[in-house]
Symmetry: C2
Subunit: 417 residues, 2 copies
């Protein structure tokens, strides 16, 4: 696997664009389109929040066919709090993209993020659609990546290449994150979608990840692999323990690499690359969490199960007290131990070993002598690794988070509905 340039347009047959349509008051790009030249297998994961935004409901419906041609997404307005009109607007947004691209509306996936209490500015979206279509190009990934950002400070974009049946196969991805980040992504269930109609979104940050590939994968296999990859990446990040109403991950596989049907071995290679794409983007989201100055990586080994390891690592990564300690460059292992102890996982504190970076600070549940100066120096880094050995089994997992800073409070206390 090698990292390549081009983001979501690196795979064959994908074009993208991003333009300012006037939704964001800043005049920045706010409307993104990703297009496949041929019908692609499609898979999606959606927030488990029972309050779901209108575009989530519409995309859950559209993706049920397992096919898609394009993703249309906007930032700056969440299309929320508008009741049935929100659903109709999301449908119309898909319909306008479908008309412009001359494809069935059900093959368009929609996503929105931004402020609430206002109807989706359809004039901007419909007015921008034609020029968005004209901008579609092989060089459009960065523009699309920029157009989905909200409070994010950095563009999140990646592409990789692998070889399958001696043919180059590419996977590209773009993402957004920042605040209200505690994804719990699950496959769509139409019953669920119907039951939990239009929701109110916080109109705030949310996580999106849009993945393209020219691999040949059928949608059930793509869906299974996407869920597994998300469980090791997006579902393992947290910025503030607030699970958004708008989180979604879409993957489109158009087969244009002509790599042919993948064998089991090939699927393993493909999955590994897909997971890496998801992990890189997930870490970028955590690192760019609102107000963050540090990426915190929490590795857990030796838990009774993988689920227990995931529980422990997310508990530590999400702890406000651990996060403020990290901001203060304080290796406060007591708070880490407390967060391990209140997770739902089974632990025996007398068996826990804890490392901050290379520095062992706790062995068998007790403080050990460590190099205080070296540890304090380590705490100055912009990426901190916490590692816990639980000593009860073979379950391992890694979670990512960030520190809790004055700027997080500032950004979110000043945000206006």
């Amino acid at each position: 696997m090698k990292i390549i340039k081009g983001g979501i347009t690196a795979p064959q047959g994908f074009l993208a664009a991003g333009i300012p349509s006037g939704i964001k008051k800043s005049g920045k790009k706010d409307l993104a389109l990703i297009y496949s030249e041929v019908t692609a297998s499609a898979a999606g994961l959606f927030t488990s929040n029972k309050v779901k935004a209108a575009p989530i409901i519409v995309s859950q419906d559209h993706i049920s066919s397992g096919k898609a041609r394009a993703i249309i997404a906007n930032a700056g307005c969440a299309n929320a709090c508008t009741g049935h009109k929100g659903i109709e607007d999301a449908k119309q947004m898909a319909f306008a993209a479908a008309s412009m691209l001359n494809v069935p509306p059900e093959q368009i996936l929609v996503a929105s993020t931004g402020t609430i209490s206002k109807p989706l500015p359809m004039d901007n979206i419909l007015g921008g659609m034609r020029s968005l279509g004209k901008k579609l190009s092989k060089a459009g990934s960065a523009d699309a990546a920029d157009a989905i950002l909200t409070t994010d400070l950095k563009r999140k974009e990646i592409a990789v290449q692998i070889m399958i049946n001696k043919k180059p196969v590419r996977i590209g991805g773009i993402a957004k994150g920042s605040g209200m980040i505690h994804p719990d992504l699950v496959p769509p269930r139409s019953k669920y979608a119907l039951k939990y109609g239009f929701g109110i979104t916080p109109g705030h940050a949310t996580m999106f990840c849009f993945i393209t590939t020219d691999a040949e994968v059928k949608s059930p296999a793509l869906g299974r692999m996407l869920k597994k990859a998300a469980d090791a990446s997006f579902n393992m990040i947290t910025v503030d323990k607030d699970t958004s109403t708008n989180d979604c991950v879409f993957a489109l596989a158009n087969g244009m690499s002509k790599c042919g049907r993948m064998k089991r071995k090939d699927e393993a290679v493909f999955y590994s690359a897909l997971e890496e794409v998801c992990k890189q983007l997930a870490k970028e989201i955590a690192r760019d969490g609102e107000g963050a100055t540090k990426l915190i990586e929490v590795r857990v080994e030796g838990a009774k199960s993988v689920a227990d390891a995931a529980e422990i690592s997310k508990s530590v990564a999400g702890s406000n007290l651990v996060k403020t300690a990290m901001f203060g460059q304080d290796p406060n292992f007591g708070r880490i131990m407390a967060a391990i102890g209140y997770s739902k996982a089974e632990i025996d504190p007398n068996r826990v070993n804890l490392f901050i970076g290379e520095h062992e600070v706790v062995r068998d549940g007790r403080v050990v002598n460590f190099n205080d100066v070296a540890l304090k120096n380590y705490m100055k880094k912009d990426q901190i690794v916490i590692m816990a050995e639980i000593g009860l089994g073979k379950g391992a997992a890694t979670a990512w988070g960030c520190d809790l800073t004055y700027d997080y409070v500032k950004i979110n206390a000043k945000y206006t509905t």
Copy 2:
């Protein structure tokens, strides 16, 4: 029921004291003693955190007899990270109090809170014991209440009086809180206590509540009522979603009111007063959360069950995004709806009504017109009430929290292990 003066020494036969023993560098009071002139029925609740501090282990053991004569507590050092020595020190602290008071050591309950990585300063504790004993008085409640504080800004103390069999019966209580507050208090289990030996505490804030009463109650009934009252009070507050390793609640009932054995009706009167004492102290803890400028009360009605209502209300009260919005005086109902939606409880967003103060902001899951100016004025208050009607049943619960402020970050980023 009427509020009376005197705190934990308002009930007959209780004396208290609090002195500076030199544990706190500030020279403030740090050693507290509460004493009953006769053997009292005792009940206790302890943190569910699997990493437990040494005094928790010792008190879980001591309370198993259902009898106690005194509570000895210190602030400034958590007696943690010292392995078996921590247990021995906690036992010795109880033993010293028992010797001085001439009662069995098993009838002494111990509690510690403060910094970690250091052994309990036994010289201060043992050295202070005699003068602590000499200070025991009917006027000592406030001193004891002060001696258990850490980052708390305010003393937490209350007493009430009810009539049972035409005799006045009193209940008094003192408490501490501030940070690492997300209590999940459960009755002691000796198996649990043995399995989870000495733990590492965060050496930080923790919640304590010590209750005295001159009612005549046997310990099993006292334990049942205390758990029920805690479930409606301490287990419904959150400051930072971090459940401490040192949380404990003790209740001592010495029967000295001579009110006689309580009938069912009397128990209801007694329970009601006990719950009120716990609720008042719990609210004081939430209001005095680290860095807090506001008390946030989240009432939930119409949930499918009481457990669901509790789940929803704690989810909203604990949301970082709701808490920062409250600090910013922003009635961000989208964030409230998101926190309702990601709670584990069953909800149908299309049935949810939401009020901030008197102002209805969401009806049937949709924004309604509200008086923007009046709502903004309401948000300036130092106590905000959020009320959600879920529309699925009869479950009701109330949780309390506080806003998330720059000062919370400051206090916890500057705290040193």
